[in-house]
């Protein structure tokens, strides 16, 4: 019995370590903004961090900073999902954008149905995907803001790309 246990133990240990490594090997961190993933899909924490990053880009821009204490009226248009994933919680991204804008104190945020406003920001989330031969996937998510005046003139554009990678299939 003891011999059997001794014989099987190394195999069990190898099995455990490999399955652990197998899981890790599927995760690719592509740059400092990407996160560990088992799928090349956006997670909740990605949404919020991504939304915050692009919103802050806009708020820190020379144009928005030049508004100073004027606090113009701004509408955040409906966020359009042009990715290949219908499960992304667009409302969460939208809420994070409005929350970040509100807490900056730079603008007066208006309801999308309001008729009196100075600027409107249109937002879009899109994605492209590349596939390898062994189940590898590389997805690029892009969040883009376009700022328009009431007469339709575009006055600013900000975007950021979040690359997510999934390595090839696990061996074990």
């Amino acid at each position: 019995m003891k011999k059997i246990l001794l014989l099987t133990l190394p195999f069990i240990l190898i099995g455990c370590s490999n399955s652990h490594l197998g899981g890790q090997s599927r995760v690719s961190i592509l740059d400092d903004s990407s996160r560990a993933h088992l799928q090349a899909e956006l997670t909740m924490s990605d949404y919020t961090a991504f939304a915050e990053k692009v919103t802050n880009k806009m708020l820190r821009s020379r144009l928005v900073q030049s508004w100073g204490r004027k606090r113009p009226k701004l509408i955040v248009g409906k966020l359009v999902n042009n990715t290949d994933n219908e499960s992304i919680r667009m409302q969460d991204i939208y809420d994070r954008i409005t929350e970040t804008i509100l807490s900056s104190g730079l603008v007066r945020l208006m309801d999308p149905s309001a008729t009196s406003f100075d600027y409107v920001v249109k937002t879009e989330l899109s994605s492209t995907r590349q596939y390898g031969n062994n189940g590898e996937e590389l997805a690029y998510y892009k969040l883009e803001f376009k700022l328009f005046k009431i007469d339709g003139e575009m006055v600013g554009q900000w975007s950021d790309v979040l690359p997510l990678g999934k390595a090839s299939r696990r061996f074990l």
Partner: protein, 513 residues
């Protein structure tokens, strides 16, 4: 019930797997070669069977429903009678005890859609997609062990439906096409996200299929050389002859199959993207160009489609003022049914029964469909995706893969003839029992339509109702269905037509103004 049988067969399979090692480790033709020299079963032992003799006599063959296709027939019968709800209920009862699997989920998803149960339909299509994702997540070893075990069992016993079924490539694309239809009927823009995935998947599937086929062709050439060598020694019949016999069986569908350049030219993904973008462009005119690009890509895959040509022409112009846009998609008839083709090949060791899956065209009475408002014709529908041609093209292109199955089938049967022959009466009983579950894989999405047709037109805001009218070849009216349009809104209509039945469904309020 089907799943329980599968589990039982898998259990037996693992026992047989041990035995299979010897067979599979050896070259199939070497086994066949050695078995062929043992004259245990003679042609005289199978009286009344006419067989192939170097093309001198016609081959006796039968094509019948069997396996999965046969179990689905009662549901298909209900659909043909227009009893969509009953068909959906029966299907739900049938799968109640089964584990989630691709085929049950897509069949149920489509039946739910045709029964106007959109949320259920979306649930089942999502389930099917999730199943495929989990299959793809399996490790190389796990996948290899399971596939090898069930494939080996399948080769030895001839029971082809014990392996996991992940759908044919065209079925996986159509699963997403249908999911996007369900979203659009639900008034949700998510239809766009799903259709983008369908476009991506089609490109990936095409690439993968080409690679698999390339490998199969290489293997076939190698096997053919081996067989020819045996043939030179007068020990086996000509390989080209055997393969020609197989190819001949699929000859009838060749004309339809060759009407499309490949099985990966389903333009419906692009067409759906065009529909969503065109609806979007009512809120955002700049997006009209995106719709044009999508329609253009759809037209590239089906250059003869009148409706796509018309959409492309019109989307270049501004939308008509004070009119509303109506998109109609019609799924007509049934896609080719996967049946069982049986024939007997004479081998030096005796007659060898060969069983192969074959897609057979399901005829449809419908030849024309018009959309009318009163007596005025608003549009005549035309084809977007010819699923029948895509299925048959897939069959034609997969012929080299069928050759493998025949080789396995011949090797197994020759070995069996020898083994059962030695056991006398008990052997005959054993052989009959084994034959009872020896069928190739006849699983396939049975409720799929023959083709996806479409029409696109503007109507005055005053028009409340339109009708879909189907006709036969001689323009005799087959069926009429009246549809109430949502007031002052752009609309999307989906209908299923089968001979003298029309089942139409109009969208819930769309996301556009």
């Amino acid at each position: 019930m089907y799943q329980n049988n599968k589990k039982y067969l898998l259990l037996v399979g693992y026992v047989l797997l041990l035995l299979s090692h010897t067979v599979l480790a050896n070259d199939m033709w070497n086994v066949l070669h050695s078995l062929a020299n043992t004259k245990t079963v003679h042609q005289s032992q199978a009286p009344g069977i006419r067989h192939y003799q170097g093309g001198q006599r016609p081959l006796t063959k039968t094509i019948v429903y069997a396996g999965y296709a046969k179990t689905f027939l009662p549901i298909k019968q209900l659909i043909t009678q227009g009893q969509w709800q009953q068909a959906y209920t029966l299907q739900k009862q049938k799968i109640a005890d089964d584990d989630v699997n691709f085929l049950d989920s897509v069949e149920t998803g489509l039946l739910a859609l045709d029964s106007h149960q959109l949320d259920d339909s979306l649930k089942y299509f999502t389930e099917a997609e999730q199943y495929l994702k989990l299959q793809a997540e399996k490790s190389v070893v796990e996948d290899g062990v399971v596939s090898f075990g069930s494939e080996a069992f399948s080769v030895i016993t001839g029971a082809g439906e014990v392996t996991d079924y992940n759908g044919e490539p065209f079925e996986r694309i159509l699963m997403l096409n249908y999911k996007s239809i369900a979203y659009l009927l639900n008034g949700e823009r998510k239809a766009y996200n799903v259709t983008r995935r369908a476009i991506d998947w089609q490109n990936i599937e095409h690439k993968e299929f080409e690679q698999t086929l390339e490998l199969a062709k290489k293997e076939i050439n190698q096997k053919q050389a081996e067989i020819n060598e045996h043939q030179n020694n007068k020990k086996l019949p000509d390989a080209n002859n055997i393969f020609q016999v197989i190819a001949d069986q699929y000859g009838r569908s060749k004309k339809i199959a060759l009407s499309v350049p490949s099985a990966y030219v389903n333009p419906f993904g692009f067409y759906m993207a065009g529909i969503v973008q065109e609806f979007d462009s009512f809120d955002e005119p700049a997006l009209r160009d995106n719709a044009r690009i999508s329609y253009k890509k759809a037209l590239k895959l089906n250059p003869k489609s009148k409706v796509i040509k018309q959409a492309l022409r019109e989307v270049k112009r501004r939308p008509r003022a004070k009119k509303r846009l109506v998109h109609v998609v019609i799924a007509d008839g049934f896609a080719p049914a996967k049946k069982l083709l049986q024939f007997v090949l004479p081998m030096p060791g005796g007659l060898v029964p060969v069983k192969l899956p074959i897609y057979e065209v399901v005829p449809s009475k419908i030849a024309h469909i018009k959309i009318k408002s009163g007596r005025r014709t608003l549009a005549t529908v035309s084809s977007v995706a010819n699923i029948e041609a895509i299925v048959l093209r897939h069959q034609l292109d997969s012929l080299p893969l069928q050759h493998f199955k025949v080789i396995a089938s011949i090797a197994r049967s020759t070995a069996e003839n020898m083994l059962w022959g030695q056991l006398g009466v008990i052997g005959q009983i054993g052989k009959s029992f084994r034959e009872s579950f020896a069928n190739p894989d006849l699983r396939g999405w049975m409720s799929l339509p023959k083709q996806l047709l479409a029409a696109r037109f503007y109507v005055s805001k005053r028009i409340r109702k339109i009708s879909i009218v189907s006709y036969d070849k001689r323009w005799r009216k087959l069926a009429t269905s009246i549809i109430e349009l949502p007031q002052n809104k752009h609309s999307f209509i989906y209908a299923r037509t089968i001979d003298d039945q029309i089942n139409a469904n109009v969208n819930k309020t769309l996301w556009v103004n």
